[in-house]
Amino acid sequence: MQRFEYSTDRETVNAARVRALEALLIEKGVITRETVDKIMAIFATEMGPFNGAKLVAKAWVDPAFKKILAEDTMAAVEQMKFVTGGAGAEGEHMRAAINTPEVHNLIICTLCSCYPWPILGLPPYWYKDPSFRARAAREPRKVLSEFGLNIGPEKEIRTWDSSAQIRWFVVPERPAGTDTFSEEQLAALVTPESMMGVAIVKPPST
């Protein structure tokens, strides 16, 4: 629903303005012609949800690793030997919330949009939307049902508000029917949404 009036050229003006700003900053020697493209390339290949998916898959096949991930998340991340080291900007201190048959975890940031960049990359639009940030704090079950995820009343929901400098992510439960899967095959099933708690990892056949 559109609640506000916007000019019809809203996006073309935004696009022209941001390119104008970038052009001026290059001319003035603040950044280079390559700066923004190089940053985006890092998020496409080195800092992204593909790292988080590998962490989750390893936790599924290695109970000792899962224990370290729960108790000393950064030590577990270090073991993964990610290209970036896994502890860069917005991931200096991370904590994993582990889903179990009794507990479903949900990560939110009611004040802004804190997100663990080195292992999840950049936050999806829904996570930054004020409606999600407001509603997930008070009515998580209702919010999750809008994502198509129904958590029964017998399962506890734990919501973690990222209000200091610790960045949180969820380790979802391993789906049934994946006993013969390799770590790589398992990692391919893990979505960013499942690592923030608004989805579960679905078995491969569905």
């Binding site: 290059i26 940053i39 900007a89 407001a134």
Partner: protein
């Protein structure tokens, strides 16, 4: 009271956006990149100097201050990266890196003909940006004092004066909680925020709340709310 500090629990909002893309318009990644470069080139970081002309401080706190100072209706009116574009453009103008006239004129040019981007720049600038992304800006410091609270202890959240920026979610002010865990060492915040109380290195706690105490009779069952809170935001529980 700033609405932006009190989003947690707000009622009457629309269904959740299920948009899973990071950038919903192609231009949004340009402003994200500019912001990230500014954080990486910011003057307070202990990284090697570069030929970049950026010589002032820019952190998440500056971006957040901008969003928190907005008219609350505008906060909801503008999309996430529109707010960034507004705040960051205003910063570059206010600090004298560019003028509003230059920005408006170049925008007009780019609206009437395809944008032509200038070439050039020193590779050392991009090397520092990469380094920042890989190592970050660690806020953890050695503790100089013992934590005031221990795991399991009952606490009450403080209600400091509302200033331009805070890391205290409004819905937790004056509420009772239990220390779930005490983080090792101490954490600084990106800047000092005056009477709000954070900035200097201090212990940080994960605090557990019963949502019934946050929104009595108006929340869900079998649900626990946790928040990471700086020590300045906590007081001993009031004896009952």
């Amino acid at each position: 009271m700033k609405l932006q500090h009190y989003l947690g629990g707000l009622e009457g909002l629309d269904p959740i956006s299920l948009e899973t893309r990071v950038f919903v318009e192609a231009w949004e990644e340009r402003i994200f990149g500019i912001h990230t470069a500014m954080m990486a080139l910011s003057s307070q970081l202990d990284l090697e100097a570069t030929p970049s002309t950026f010589n002032t401080e820019w952190t998440w706190a500056d971006l957040r201050k901008g969003a928190e100072s907005m008219n609350p209706f505008d906060y909801f009116k503008f999309r996430y990266y529109e707010k960034w574009l507004g705040g960051i453009s205003a910063y570059f103008v206010a600090k004298g890196y560019i003028t509003q006239i230059e920005l408006d004129a170049r925008t007009e040019t780019f609206l009437t003909s395809a944008p032509v981007m200038p070439k050039g720049g020193d590779a050392a600038v991009d090397a520092r940006v990469r380094k920042y992304l890989l190592i970050g800006d660690d806020p953890k410091r050695e503790r100089s004092t013992q934590p005031r609270f221990a795991a399991g202890e009952a606490v009450c959240v403080a209600d400091p004066k509302s200033v331009d920026h805070t890391r205290l979610p409004g819905h937790l002010r004056n509420k009772a909680g239990i220390i779930d865990s005490v983080y090792p060492d101490a954490y600084t915040y990106l800047c000092e925020i005056g009477p709000d109380g954070i900035g200097k290195a201090m212990p940080v706690y994960c605090v557990k709340f019963d949502p019934e105490t946050l929104w009595p009779g108006n929340t869900e069952q079998n649900f626990t709310f946790y928040a990471d809170l700086f020590e300045a935001y906590l007081e001993p529980a009031i004896a009952s």
